[in-house]
């Protein structure tokens, strides 16, 4: 993988923009197309691009498997936990009305939080799935290819 110089440079240049775009999609989901899921996928694509260019091992060094599983769990629990917070606020599950001083703002906050949860979970899960495939050694003869 060391001979694709242009690829490496371009990738390095693109990577921040991809991640930035992912963040934009994440936070702008309230106003335009996009949201946690799309952002998560784009974020994962960023990682995958990194892995394709620099090798999976490099990616695993940056985000080890344990971290990925942890991040997945954090994302999911952020979502589920928001609901639990509503329970403790005396409301039904996932009712965001009391997350802020008035119900409408509470909804906005709630949506933001759960979208963030989705984003983290999806980005981590997609990356984890990709890593699982990519680190599996091919058990395939060259003639097959």
């Amino acid at each position: 993988m060391h001979h694709h110089l242009i690829l490496r440079v371009v990738a390095k240049l693109l990577l921040p923009f991809i991640l930035l775009y992912a963040l934009y999609v994440q936070w702008h989901g309230d106003y335009g197309p996009g949201g946690g899921f799309q952002a998560g996928v784009i974020f994962a694509v960023g990682f995958i691009l990194y892995a394709l260019v620099y090798g999976v091992d490099a990616l695993v060094r940056v985000v080890p498997r344990g971290v990925l599983v942890g991040a997945m769990a954090v994302g999911l629990l952020l979502y589920a936990g928001t609901g639990v917070v509503s329970l403790f606020l005396g409301l039904d599950y996932l009712d965001y009305s009391r997350l802020a001083h008035d119900p409408v703002h509470g909804q906005e906050w709630g949506i933001l939080l759960v979208e963030l949860g989705v984003g983290i979970a999806v980005a981590a899960a997609m990356t984890a799935i990709f890593v699982a495939f990519a680190t599996r050694e091919p058990d395939i003869d060259d003639e097959d290819w």
Partner: protein, 502 residues
């Protein structure tokens, strides 16, 4: 004793407790930690469903609005006698198989996989509970997929023992996904003509809508979709391999719960959602589902007689037992429905016990092939005795819960004057006896092969299997609780539909 605030939140806690615990199982890893958490959570879940069951037994219907949005805008959880009963079955089987899983999984799964395995296990339970409790048709799909995806993974993790688990899981995945997609198509058609996804609202709107070709096809697709999930003959092809090659604890759990939940969904949609407002529904049930169910009953039993592998034998028997439930449904009488619901319980309890026994053999004798298990009754007396009890319940011998359900079923068929159906049910019981007895005879009446040493299963496996076997007997002797629950559920279903039944 328990604050009212918690009581009113029970429906959501039922699902959310295992859902939140499952990721922690994945993080904990290591054998005992993940197991301990999973077991603890399953006990809590069982306690919750017991409370739900107790509070709905008198006919109360609990409604819970997720996100505080009133249905049909938001998603609703709706618990009545029927699904509280199913919840109780799912969580009860879940808790006991979790106890059983400790030794069995330690034997059948690599230790480094345990965290993920138990996580998937708890997710599977979460999905089934979520499907059962929800009152929103699309939410059914989402949670169905949670349970299905985790089931595929669980089945595939039997590959350590036999690589055929992989292909079994793959085929299950393909058929299961097609089934789920059919359901989505059917639901789409319903949505198109009603504009709602809430089951109660759907029922209401469908009555307003009247008959149409779109509705008919929506019905057909949903039935086929659930038919795939519940392994209705001839859509059962995924089942035998999946149950045979899955790890034992998974076989026990999945066989006892997932097809039952699919049967529940079938009931829910047939009665609550469609409610027999169009004659097409009755026609389909009577002319297509009933014959298929009858063929399934007989074919499943007969094929089971010729199986060499105990787990595969049990799997084919499941296909046949599912047929009984379907027959009970197609009778469209309170008696028939009651028979179906009791049989659902009976089969869950008996099959869980039987698959647990098979798993104990796999662990202690290293095989589930019948001919290799000769004389096992003397080496593992308690395990094998549990098999005898579960097997007799499957046959429907008196003093087992299987007898109760067959009694109601035959009675319901006779009330309708369906003599041939009653005859077939009885006949297939006899075939069931043949396959059960084939193993019992091998276990007791043949000498142990030379050089085979088998020890009795450990206590953590014996206890759950005997709780199931014991409840097979207990509820066979005293059917008042199950009868009451089933009759309450059946009358609820009939009342919700526009079936006119004298």
């Amino acid at each position: 004793m328990i604050p009212q605030a918690i009581i009113s939140q029970l429906p959501i806690l039922q699902v959310i407790v295992p859902l939140i615990a499952a990721p922690f199982c994945a993080l904990l890893g290591g054998r005992n930690r993940a197991w301990a958490l999973a077991f603890a959570v399953s006990l809590v879940t069982f306690a919750i469903s017991a409370m739900l069951f107790a509070s709905t037994l008198d006919g109360t219907v609990l409604s819970y609005q997720l996100g505080g949005w009133a249905p049909p805008i938001g998603i609703e959880y709706r618990v009545d006698a029927l699904n509280a009963f199913v919840l109780l079955i799912v969580s009860g089987v879940g808790a006991l198989t979790m106890l059983y899983a400790r030794e069995s999984v330690a034997y059948e799964i690599d230790e480094r996989h345990h965290g993920l395995f138990y996580s998937a296990f708890v997710f599977c339970m979460t999905g089934l509970l979520g499907v059962t409790i929800t009152g929103d048709a699309f939410n059914v799909f989402v949670f169905l997929e949670i349970s299905s995806l985790s089931t595929y993974a669980l089945v595939a993790s039997g590959a350590k023992r036999d690589r055929r688990a992989l292909t079994a899981a793959y085929n299950y995945l393909i058929m299961g996904t097609i089934g789920a997609t059919f359901f989505v198509i059917g639901l789409g058609l319903l949505y198109m003509i009603t504009g709602t996804l809430n089951m109660a609202d759907l029922a209401h709107k469908l009555v307003e809508h009247g008959d149409s070709r779109t509705l008919r096809m929506g019905f057909a697709f949903i039935v086929v979709g659930f038919g795939l999930k519940l392994a209705m003959f001839p859509l059962h092809l995924w089942l035998p391999n999946a149950y045979t090659h899955a790890p034992s604890a998974v076989s026990a759990f999945v066989s006892a719960t997932s097809t039952k939940v699919a049967v529940y969904l079938m009931l829910r949609f047939l009665f609550t959602v469609f409610g027999f407002s169009i004659p097409f529904e009755v026609d389909v049930l009577r002319t297509i589902v009933l014959p298929l169910a009858l063929i399934g009953i007989l074919a499943g039993s007969i094929v089971a007689v010729f199986q060499e592998d105990l787990k595969r034998l049990l799997a084919y028997s499941s296909i046949s037992q599912i047929g009984y439930m379907l027959v009970g449904i197609t009778l469209l009488t309170p008696g028939g429905l009651m028979a179906s619901i009791i049989h659902l319980f009976n089969h869950a309890v008996a099959k869980a016990a039987l698959f647990m026994v098979a798993g104990a053999y796999v662990m202690q004798a290293g095989t589930s092939t019948i001919s290799d298990l000769r004389g096992v009754g003397r080496d593992m007396p308690f395990t094998t005795a549990a098999f005898v009890v579960g097997g007799l319940s499957l046959v429907g011998v008196p003093m087992t819960v299987g007898f109760i359900s067959k009694w109601y079923l035959v009675q319901a068929a006779l009330e309708q004057g369906w003599w041939p159906v009653a005859g077939l049910i009885v006949l297939s019981s006899l075939v069931a006896f043949a396959y059960v007895w084939r193993f019992v005879e091998a276990a007791y009446m043949y000498p142990t092969p030379d050089g085979v040493i088998r020890r009795e299963a450990p206590l953590t496996m014996l206890i759950p299997m005997w709780i199931f076997a014991g409840s097979s007997i207990f509820f066979g002797l005293n059917a008042s609780l199950t009868s009451a629950a089933a009759s309450r559920a059946a009358s609820g279903l009939i009342a919700a539909s526009s079936l006119i039944w004298q």
